[in-house]
């Protein structure tokens, strides 16, 4: 869906957003982290979390072989474990991933727009997006122009997201806010709304390439934004925390937060994703623990 707002309208709406109660937000996130999820509920949560993973490899050293093995793992992580939601690769690897996943339900997501910094001219970012879509990407993970955002040029950020949305065509657009580079919670709230006004299908926390990645308070704040956005406009937007979520305990905290903040409507991989790579192995080890009754170890899952 393209936005019906003008850049100036969106910017003024975003600037009028109320500030974030940082203490309350962090207390709420900490409170949601204390839930104990055990036995059958835990088994269900683990399988749900696996099905929500965008299994990611974004390294300079990525090879077609590595992407194919990642795709194989995404399809069949372990025994009867569900497939992951998608694999997430650089645009140059989309064709390889697409071929490896052909005919399966596992989607191919591609980062684009000069990932991870986004500090390249707009026409290059749009060409990057178009080539990823042409190669078969089902989803595009774009980065916002943090330089423009932090300089206060919200209209420019809005127009750029709209332009990328148009270039992405039918592919679902995930907008990476890179919350580690936005200084305050207020900025995260503004960036979330700006991205949604511009037509984002998903808002995503981080690239995984800076020091601070997804945190629970930031993700909770973004969940509140998508909840309020649907209440206001009727349009549902997904959330994807990425980077820094490495173990089952963390993943379950996020699922609890989704359930408490957004409810059942978001509790599936169409609307909630984890951007992760090492998380999958920990989920599989916990899954084995529940099945066998004894602790598993890294020797019993694949080396990626």
């Amino acid at each position: 869906m393209g936005s019906i707002l003008s850049g100036a309208e969106a910017a003024s709406l975003v600037r009028a957003l109320p500030g974030v109660d940082a203490v309350g937000l962090e207390a709420r996130a900490a409170g949601l982290s204390t839930r104990s999820v055990k036995t059958t509920s835990k088994a269900w949560a683990i399988d749900l979390a696996i099905s929500m993973i965008d299994l990611t490899t974004l390294e300079g050293a990525d090879t077609p072989g590595k992407v194919r093995s990642l795709a194989a793992k995404a399809l069949r992580p372990d025994g009867d474990a569900p497939s992951t939601a998608a694999v997430c690769v650089y645009p140059s690897m989309v064709a390889v991933a697409k071929e490896a996943l052909a005919g399966s339900g596992v989607l191919v997501a591609s980062v684009a727009t000069g990932f991870p910094a986004g500090q390249v001219p707009l026409d290059v970012r749009l060409a990057d997006t178009e080539s990823a879509v042409r190669a078969g990407a089902d989803e595009i993970d774009m980065v916002i122009n943090r330089g423009a955002f932090l300089a206060g040029d919200l209209e420019r950020v809005f127009h750029e997201i709209k332009a990328v949305k148009a270039a992405a065509g039918d592919a679902r657009l995930k907008v990476i806010l890179e919350t580690g580079e936005l200084a305050t919670y207020d900025d995260v709230r503004r960036a979330s709304w700006l991205a949604m006004y511009a037509g984002a299908d998903f808002i995503k926390t981080s690239t995984g390439k800076v020091g601070v990645n997804a945190t629970l308070p930031v993700t909770l704040l973004m969940m509140q934004a998508v909840r309020d956005y649907r209440a206001l406009t009727g349009v549902q937007v997904g959330v994807k925390p990425a980077g820094g979520i490495r173990n089952t305990k963390d993943a379950i905290k996020y699922l609890v937060t989704v359930n408490e903040t957004l409810g059942d409507d978001w509790l599936r991989n169409e609307w909630f994703r984890f951007g992760a790579s090492s998380l999958l192995n920990d989920l599989l080890m916990q899954r084995q623990k529940l099945k066998t009754g004894h602790y598993s170890g890294p020797d019993y899952v694949t080396v990626d």
Partner: protein, 291 residues
């Protein structure tokens, strides 16, 4: 002089270089053989065992990657530290076992000497156990012993210091990391040994010491898939030993049975596995390479 209130030591676990209380917060009273209450020790549970294995796993690769020389120096340093506190350990040992204090000091000195002995082995056992093998082909073929990884030890029940050193020194000398379940009724010398190890430049997690009920914690260590070796030397109950062996058989693990004895070299060999490399010597030379 006024009657001063003595500051008593809280005996805590030693996991990952830190001294945590048990995860459950439970503790249990420890008494000397004549029934005098000595102290409360932390009562470790399944989750403490899990944390200890995770700490040992994290520490294992860097520890095995250290030079043999440095590992030897660190073990020697532990002996130095123990020497400095020999009096305290002799007292704790005498309290724990009911032994004569003079005899206990002798045991502590033996333990110190044992550490020095294994400190000397770190840069020698690979040459003694491994070597170049004669093969019928143009290959340089050699075998080296490599550490297994994480070794779980059920420490001897009645020999709480020397027996403990006997169990852990050969394992860590060869680059393994250990999770030790200390003697159930006499855990205090082992827990104090944690303080010695923590001040010996031994990286956190190389030795992890748990106190608690053997029958409660050992099964979780035996069945843990991320434990590569299991030393059952301190399991007196034959049924428990059999059930631990059965649990260990579900995973890929080397098990040392109770009562099995050996010399230092056997003990060093116990927690290693051999890697043999076939290096194509002739081919490189034949191809005109600089090799």
């Amino acid at each position: 002089m006024s009657d001063r209130l003595r500051v008593k030591k809280t005996y805590k676990l030693y996991v990952g270089g830190k001294f945590p209380r048990s995860e459950s917060g439970r503790s249990y009273p420890v008494a000397s053989p004549d029934g005098t209450e000595l102290a409360n020790a932390a009562l470790a549970s399944r989750k403490d065992a899990r944390d200890a294995v995770a700490a040992a796993r994290n520490a294992q690769r860097p520890w095995a990657g250290q030079t043999a020389y440095l590992r030897g120096q660190i073990l020697y340093r532990a002996a130095e530290m123990l020497e400095g506190r020999a009096g305290q350990f002799a007292e704790e040992l005498a309290d724990a076992t009911g032994a004569d204090p003079h005899e206990a000091l002798g045991t502590v000195e033996q333990a110190i000497d044992r550490l020095v002995h294994y400190a000397g082995w770190t840069d020698k056992y690979t040459s003694v156990l491994g070597g170049a093998n004669p093969v019928a082909g143009p290959y340089f073929n050699h075998t080296t012993p490599e550490p297994l990884g994480v070794v779980a030890v059920v420490a001897p029940q009645d020999d709480p210091l020397l027996g403990l050193i006997d169990a852990i020194a050969p394992a860590i000398a060869t680059g393994n990391t250990v999770v030790v379940l200390a003697s159930e009724s006499k855990p205090l010398p082992a827990l104090s040994l944690g303080e010695v190890l923590a001040t010996s430049d031994l990286p956190g997690g190389v030795v992890n010491l748990l106190s608690g009920k053997t029958a409660e914690v050992a099964p979780h260590l035996a069945s843990h898939a991320d434990v590569n070796g299991l030393d059952l030397r301190g399991v007196a109950d034959a049924d428990l030993a059999a059930s631990l062996e059965a649990a260990a058989a579900e995973t890929l693990k080397v098990v040392r049975r109770p009562g099995k004895d050996g010399n230092a070299l056997d003990l060093l060999r116990q927690w290693t596995e051999y890697k043999t490399v076939w290096h194509p010597a002739g081919m490189a030379a034949g191809a005109g390479g600089a090799y």
